[in-house]
């Protein structure tokens, strides 16, 4: 490093005092800063103690050979521009000294002009060396920075769940992350591998579209691929071109997103929609059929049969309406958009009023209902409409699927942290395989006994949704042809008020 930018620092090592001091005086008058040493050892020590730009080393000195001094000084700072001064200038010495790193040699005796000319050239060289050093250092720093950037990029890439891999124009792997390896089930790939052949054909095809066109078109292609059979792993792969700074095509980046779960939800939804469509179409088909027959004169339908068909159409359309209402309820529950009004409800009271509400249906079938209240405090926090709906669905099922003149037992009591409501009927009961499907949407038990019982197949599915939404549980016990018992457990949330009244 140059200590003083304006003044070059020169070290003069010469055993000849006159020459040493004369040179110093000359150089200082020319704007140099000059230090002197009278032998090699002293010169080396001086070079260690402070930086120099230039050094003039006498070849012949009593203690150390000038060549040795040169070697030592260049060890201290390889960028010091050294001159060898010698009266015995010979071609060989010159070669040897320059081989060892001397910039040049100065034959003795020299004129001031000769010396200054040499030193000036040497100093220019020194400045060039220092500039080059500086640039080199900067470059190294930048390389380090880039290396750091690369590691950082790799860390970021590896931390995302999407798979990413980049290939260049020739299909060689340039960049990838661990998720990509995982999704594509690749174990041994390396940067530089030509990987198009081992990628799923759907991805290769998309990448090739870009590579083959060989220009940067800012489009993306996207496709869904089942990477593992039976929908175990479905991904969405998106390929986009990567441009060079000049806008030409550099390569293609492929991003792989795991959509297995989303697909599952989608499948369930579309299956549900299909089922709904089927369930809605059936009554419509029945009504259309009746109307078609009534309207077709070739059948000559008699008035009383017409009336029967219209009645049956009326029943089917009412069923359809009930189903649409149930579906709307389910959809509202799914969206959690129901405006709930949570307040303290007396469940015993809810059961009583539900029985009142269904009195007509009870009478029609001659069913007796018994309500036993086994708790002094049967309150819990819930939405009135939902709880009404819950017990209306359960009790109306207990009526519909009961035997004529059968009975329904309702019991309410506390069971640990729950209110337990039991609804038992003396109805047709369930077979084991029917019990298993009981809460499925649109499931209805179909046999001789259920023929003619109207229903949407959604009642119990709604019951389950309501109970689930209160973190409750349902148990079902049933014996075929004997009856069915539903046990509903609704958690009692002790609020501040009730616990303070309990102490």
């Amino acid at each position: 490093m140059v200590v003083d930018d304006l003044k070059p620092q020169v070290l003069i090592i010469d055993d000849e005092k006159g020459l040493r001091l004369g040179t110093k005086r000359l150089l200082e008058s020319e704007g140099f800063i000059a230090d002197v040493a009278e032998n090699g050892t002293e010169g080396i020590n001086l070079a260690r103690s402070k930086p120099f730009d230039l050094a003039i080393i006498d070849l012949k000195m009593p203690d150390l050979d000038g060549i040795e001094v040169l070697k030592e000084i260049r060890k201290i700072d390889p960028n010091i521009v050294c001159f060898i001064a010698t009266a015995y200038a010979s071609y060989e010495t010159a070669i040897e000294s320059t081989k060892l790193g001397a910039y040049s040699y100065i034959p003795k005796p020299f004129t001031p002009e000769e010396l200054l000319l040499q030193l000036k050239k040497g100093y220019e060289k020194r400045l060039l060396i220092l500039e080059a050093e500086k640039l080199k250092k900067e470059r190294e720093e930048r390389l380090l920075e880039i290396a750091y950037e690369k590691t950082r990029l790799k860390t970021i890439l590896n931390s995302i769940t999407e798979g990413a891999l980049v290939v260049n124009k020739t299909g060689e792997l340039v960049l990838y992350n661990s998720s990509a390896l995982k999704y594509l089930d690749l174990h041994e790939i390396f940067i530089g591998d030509v990987i198009l052949e081992i990628l799923p054909p759907e991805i290769t095809e998309m990448i090739k579209k870009f590579i083959d066109s060989n220009e940067y078109i800012p489009n993306s292609y996207s496709t869904q691929i089942e990477l593992k059979p039976n929908k175990e792993l479905i991904v969405e792969a998106t390929c986009s071109p990567v441009p060079h700074a000049d806008g030409s095509l550099a390569g293609v980046v492929t991003v792989i997103r795991n959509i297995t779960e989303a697909k599952k939800v989608e499948d369930i939804k579309s299956q549900f929609v299909s089922m709904v469509a089927h369930e809605l179409k059936t009554p419509v088909a029945a009504v259309i059929g009746f109307i078609k027959i009534i309207l077709d004169d070739t059948f000559g339908v008699k008035p009383e049969q017409q009336k029967d068909f219209l009645n049956r159409s009326y029943v089917r359309l009412n069923g359809l309406l009930a189903m649409v209402n149930d579906l709307l309820d389910i959809s509202r529950m799914e969206l959690r958009k129901t405006q709930r009004e949570i307040k303290e409800l007396d469940i015993a009271q809810v059961l009583k009023s539900t029985l009142d509400f269904l009195e007509l249906e009870l009478k029609k079938k001659g069913i007796t209902a018994n309500l036993s209240i086994g708790c002094s405090d049967c309150h819990l926090m819930a939405d009135q409409n939902e709880i009404n709906r819950l017990f209306t669905n359960l009790i109306s099922n207990a009526i519909k699927y009961n035997k004529d003149n059968g009975s329904i037992d309702l019991e309410i009591k506390r069971s640990g942290n729950y209110l337990r409501i039991r609804v038992s009927d003396t109805g047709i009961g369930l077979k084991a395989e029917e019990k298993a499907k009981l809460f499925q949407e649109f499931f209805r038990v179909k046999n001789d006994k259920t023929r003619g019982i109207s229903g949407t197949g959604l009642g119990l599915s709604i019951v389950k949704r309501i109970v689930d939404s209160y973190a409750g549980k349902i148990e079902v016990e049933s014996e075929f042809n004997v009856g069915t018992t539903f046990l509903i457990f609704l958690p009692i949330k002790e609020n501040g008020q009730s616990s303070s009244t309990q102490k």
Binding site: T282, A285, A286, K292
Partner: protein, 137 residues
């Protein structure tokens, strides 16, 4: 149906009694003799007893594939005769695919002579059934 042919007996199986009655009326008006059943077991018993010339079966009854189950039974054991079986359904996209019998796997599984959509296009059903009876003559 041509004049000199014996009256064909057709079995209808559907758990929807309204549709069952309508289809019965429609086919009777075309001169067919109709026997009915409302589920797979019934259908199988009626089939054995009545030995119909054709069967028209609803797909979704107790189970989602009840119609196919009954169809298989009929095809396996139809007292040495080729009994045409038509499956009715309004659930053509129930399981995400259209019922068809283009692949051998589908042919084996479905095994019926036609899958017809509900509400049925009556003319289509008649045409298919009559075409079948004609080739048998």
């Amino acid at each position: 149906m041509s004049f000199n042919e014996k009256v064909k007996k057709i079995m209808l199986v559907d758990d929807d009694i309204d549709l069952l009655e309508q289809h019965k009326m429609l086919l009777e008006s075309k001169g067919y003799l109709i026997v009915t059943a409302e589920n797979v077991e019934d259908g199988w018993n009626v089939f054995k007893k009545e030995k119909p010339d054709a069967a028209i079966i609803d797909l979704i009854m107790e189970e989602h594939d009840s119609g196919f189950v009954l169809c298989h039974r009929i095809k396996r054991d139809s007292f040495g005769k080729q009994i045409p079986v038509f499956i009715l359904t309004s659930a053509t996209y129930m399981t995400g695919f259209k019922f068809g019998s283009s692949t051998s796997e589908e042919k084996e599984w479905i095994n019926c002579d036609a899958v017809l959509n509900k509400p049925i296009v009556f003319e289509e059903l008649l045409q298919k059934m009559e075409a079948f009876f004609e080739t048998k003559v």
